[in-house]
Subunit: 213 residues, 2 copies
């Protein structure tokens, strides 16, 4: 039992974030690697001290691997990458490249995407002038990512945790049609989300939250 | 000469970002570790194809270590951490904890801070309604970080690259007085920026840009 990886996510979330809660990234990686795991739940509505002990920001997921508890989807992806060559190349050069792109997904792209979610949640619409600086920032970043993805199938040679983080971040934009002008980005999201491991992880997350309704 | 680490930053930047350009994080880490390095420049105004080959988003810094070129300040910090125990603990548990907090700084805190910079750059002031959801998001994150920092000197036991990323991200908030209600966060920034390695890195960056005026 100590050998089984345990992913903790919320017991329930509202409709909107379903399919996007970040345990998806961890489920996806575990499915890609074929590592055995089970999923546990923590209350969404009343977050106890035990929750903050594992995840200081009161978010999910966290991963327990033996005696170690790890939070931050990026840190979990890197940790799992160190356990499986299906997630992170073992050769030093490609491994460094995949790690770099993992950080790029989380610190160069996702922070350009997040404000859209904050604005939409607060009721601002894309036609309002206040959204313009954020739209411009996002478009600049996508404009730089586009030629990268036009020239390669995956970010670091072979599929890696960098693609899990990047495709999951871009997925949200594709649904809001913001990738329409960036065909290579859009095609990349299509390739990534067509992988059986993503499809299973996504279906499993939806089923997990649906079971709590 | 191949043994010397080379950090590339812009040749010049406007006044406002001086002292905050991200080569600071790399300089700071290199000073903490006592690793020999030199700094090279790339044009700020006309960014050539060679720039994008090293840094696909047209940003800085990047680090050349022997035959390897690495971008993303987070990836560079992790890379340097693997070269020096002064930056990342060698024992597995503390090393995992420091890595987790490095991701937390870059993906849980910095994306909550970045919108403030975008809004200020676009001329929005904190009293405007559009800034409210972002202020609320940031305050929630700081509210979770506060008890963590009230209970420890550094994020992962001893000083690590996680503190470089976190303190550098929080520093901006301290200058805009947004840390006034978060005394543990403010004291942490004070501790971090009082380190000789930070002071030297900061002075060196200011001198680098001043020399180009």
């Amino acid at each position: 039992m100590n050998d089984t990886l345990v992913v903790t996510t919320f017991d329930w979330v509202p409709e909107t974030p379903r399919g996007y809660v970040r345990d998806l990234r961890v489920r996806w990686a575990l499915e890609e690697a074929g590592l055995p795991y089970r999923v546990e739940s923590t209350p969404f509505r009343e977050r106890a001290a035990a929750h903050y002990a594992h995840q200081p920001f009161g978010q999910v997921p966290w991963l327990v691997d033996g005696g170690r508890s790890i939070f931050e989807s990026g840190a979990i992806l890197l940790h799992l990458g160190q356990r499986s060559a299906a997630l992170l190349p073992t050769e030093a050069g490609p491994r460094s490249e995949a790690t770099t792109w993992l950080f790029a997904a989380l610190n160069s792209m996702e922070p350009a995407i997040l404000p859209m979610t904050v604005l939409e949640f607060a009721g601002f619409t894309p036609d309002m002038p206040v959204t313009q600086p954020f739209e411009a920032f996002l478009k600049a970043r996508l404009g730089h990512l586009e030629p990268v993805l036009a020239g390669r199938e995956w970010l670091a040679g072979s599929f890696s945790v960098a693609d899990i983080a990047m495709a999951d971040a871009l997925r949200l934009l594709n649904e809001s049609e913001r990738l329409a002008a960036f065909p290579a980005c859009r095609a990349y999201v299509g390739r990534a989300t067509a992988r059986p491991a993503f499809i299973k992880a996504h279906a499993d997350q939806l089923a997990h939250f649906a079971a709590a309704d």
